[in-house]
Symmetry: C2
Subunit: 497 residues, 2 copies
């Protein structure tokens, strides 16, 4: 027996830069121990629990980088992770000789650290030896938060990034602006938030704030994909950017109200080019979400200049063609900034020409299986959100509904299925702000997390209930107000209000 | 102009003892100022806002007890209220010469202090002179919280008592124990919580805890009515009290499980007499809630001793008669402790003989109008909860549904209507604990608060929306995570997670 229990980390390299698919690692092997199955969430791909049980004793536990590790002490990403993880161990450690965690990329180590003793140990005093072989089923496992309907203080965003990491989510889809407010403080166009935020000082995300969110996420293996949704959902943009939105007409006169982005002016595209150039440097991720959903044609139809333009372009009465015209130009602009893009399903439905690596985001509730078939049949990569709109609440254990979803349950070839890279749980903000976001999101989003991480045949709802109950208490113990599944208790109840 | 702005308090006497109807005061007259109508919640009975506007200036504001006040400096209840209230004023005060708050009883002053400047002033920099004449429409305005399905830490209970006072609720219905757990630490029967609580040390309310809750409530003009629900809903009681529950039978043998309280043993009534004697001293309120809902007869029917007893008593097959037999004896026991009681509607429905001053609590959703008619036709005082089960959640602004309820909208004479003394919003605990209770309760319960306080014709839903939006921001500003009504913002967002 060694004097210290060690967690050896053998990593191939310290990949500090964010990239688009951070989950292509395999073989994380914490040999040293595992909990009873009881508290693992999301369930790893392969867990072998041995009969050998180890008693947990006092603190003689150390994390040691393996000699073979190419990451090790010089990798600040990992060292930060050790520190966070250590903080969570509290009094407890293990008296087993050694545990090994192997991961070909650093992101794997980050996520698998969740399975170390403090995570597993909730109601137990001893743990069994185990071999865990783990990797995610889907590479894109996201949470959408909406900071426009209600402003979300940075503190709330960071706390939920922390919780996302505990649930092995790896994408924060930041629906940062919308009709209601424009909290993103743009260096190039500061008047957008000056005029369009709920308040220009207290309800904005400064460049420093945004940077902090991105770095906090990166340290936890989470990509930040910002969404700047156009041409609809842009009322707040119009306040600070003259002529950006279409003036609506009442009869022959402007009514004073405005519609979607004005697609017929060159100034619109000049603005977008400048704006998305800034976005491409502020957000390091390879992708940006461009929205494109729910464009209301009423205002466009009312405007005589738009009507004239429709004629010139031979669009007839088909305003979807006008929408496509706009989107096409926008995609070209964004492509020139060297970013890939995600778009909501309508953009695909309307026949816009997309780059082959475009990700189509399926969100409309009715018929989403058919939509998944069509999108993948057309050869596009896709992510699913339709069944996971967590802003819709109801009485009882609705997490089960989210859990039972099978993302590949649509008609299509194996090739088509491979194009589904994951999904996102969406918590739109109409009825959600700092007061209720966290308990509304957790552990309901945890159900989505397991569906996107664990093997397809992990579908036992009873077993899920048992593990999720413990997992939610673990979140509570770490200060996250994750709401209860049903009548029960946690050893340490939430201490806030 | 006087040098200091004064709030003169003219009170008839300092009523420090809790009594059952604490709302029989009238004529609270803060002459000094009022907000725009905009942020008053619940809306006072009569508000006259004058054209005269006063600018809010720096701190030269004082609260002075009127010479005519019989309460004044020696009334600790009021002095505590001043201190709490003063703490909320922050930087703002008024430069108007004088404001008068008159109340015949101290409870009136407590509630009306809510209308003083800090409450009114949220977005304003000046306020108009006004006369407010206020009193509650219903005397019983309650919130039910359930500490059995989930244990509620004392901190959560106190925070919600504070918020109740802000909403002019005056009854905390403490559904303290139930099937799932028995967190009440009884001096007489400590084994009840020793065995029946989720945890005997961390998940119990000690005598000191209970005392603190009661005093904290009293200082805010809130009665604490505990509920000890029998003969059903008692699984947790059986763990620490042998022979209290009915052994269920499977064929001719005990199945090992237990049913409702065993109504045929003398030991049951000895226990109840001792237990409720303790309760009568621990809880000073004149009333105790005795439950009596949802008694499942299956177990009683299976038990041969019970069957025999039924024969002896000539009850035939009517187990409601057995239930009534039990309840009747329980009511006599509680009457002997000099307390009045509330009971759930089934006890009335089953024809139990009740004391004339019994309060019947109507809770069953379907046909509650009819039930209100029957209960009041029989001459009983009643309170309404059926439309206000706040544990049932749904997407959107369900506060409007609670707001639109008219408690007297049932068939009956004026005399019958007078028997309706109020209602309670119930937040049952199956899906609620410290993590999500507060945002789930507020401001949804605020809708019930206004319905029970304000005049019958206060039904403008748009006006309510506007005022409630400000009122909820006021709660947020005071550290209460009251959830949003809809897309919007508060000047100071919630600072927790």
């Amino acid at each position: 027996m060694l004097k210290f229990v060690s967690l050896l980390l053998a990593l191939s390299f310290c990949q500090g830069l964010q990239h688009n698919n951070i989950d292509d690692y395999v073989e994380a092997e914490p040999v040293f121990e595992a909990s009873k199955y009881g508290s693992l969430w999301p369930l790893p791909q392969k867990v072998q629990i041995s009969e050998v049980s180890f008693k947990l004793t006092s603190s003689s536990f150390r994390i040691v980088d393996a000699k073979a590790s190419s990451a090790g002490p010089s990798c600040s990403l990992l060292q930060s992770a050790y520190r966070r993880w250590w903080f969570l161990t509290d009094e407890l450690t293990v008296n087993q000789p050694v545990a090994v965690l192997k991961a070909p990329k650093v992101w794997g180590a980050l996520f698998e650290l969740n399975f170390c003793p403090p995570t597993l140990h909730l109601f137990q005093k001893s743990i069994n030896a185990a071999i865990i072989n783990d990797f995610p089923r889907f590479q894109h496992r996201g949470i959408l938060l909406d900071s426009s309907r209600h402003f979300l203080p940075i503190k709330v965003i960071l706390a939920n990034l922390e919780t996302m990491a505990m649930n092995k989510f790896n994408v924060f889809h930041w629906h940062i602006v919308d009709d209601q407010s424009f909290p993103y403080l743009s260096r190039t166009f500061p008047q957008l938030s000056e005029q369009g935020a709920y308040h220009p000082y207290t309800h904005v995300y400064t460049p420093a704030d945004v940077k902090m969110v991105i770095e906090f996420a990166r340290l936890r293996g989470i990509r930040v994909i910002p969404e700047f949704d156009t041409p609809g959902h842009t009322q707040s943009w119009g306040k600070g950017q003259k002529d950006l939105l279409t003036p609506c007409y009442s009869g022959s006169k402007p009514s004073g109200s405005f519609g979607p982005v004005n697609p017929i002016l060159n100034t619109t595209y000049d603005f977008m080019a400048q704006f998305f150039t800034e976005i491409s440097t502020v957000f390091p991720d390879g992708y940006v979400h461009l929205g494109g959903d729910e464009v209301d044609f009423t205002c466009w139809k009312s405007n005589p200049d738009i009507q004239k333009f429709m004629e010139q372009q031979h669009f007839g009465d088909d305003y979807r063609k006008l929408e496509s015209f706009y989107i096409q130009k926008l995609l070209d602009i964004v492509t020139s900034t060297k970013k890939g893009y995600l778009i909501w399903q309508e953009v695909f439905d309307n026949g816009v020409k997309l780059k082959p690596d475009t990700v189509v985001h399926v969100w409309i509730g009715g018929g989403s299986d058919k939509e998944m078939s069509s999108v993948t049949a057309a050869g596009y990569t896709t992510i699913l959100s339709a069944p996971w709109y967590l802003d819709y609440i109801s009485y009882g254990q609705d997490w089960q509904k989210y859990y039972k979803v099978e993302p590949l349950n649509f008609e299509g070839t194996d090739e088509q299925k491979k194009l589904v890279i994951g999904g996102e749980a969406c918590l739109w903000g109409e009825y959600v702000d700092a007061t209720n976001l966290t308990p509304r999101l957790w552990p309901r989003a945890s159900a989505v997390a397991e569906r996107l991480w664990s093997a397809k045949d992990v579908t036992d709802i009873g077993d899920a209930f048992n593990r999720l109950s413990l997992h939610r208490c673990r979140m509570v113990e770490r200060g996250i107000p994750a709401e209860p599944l049903f009548s029960s208790y946690c050893p340490h109840e939430y201490k806030g209000v």
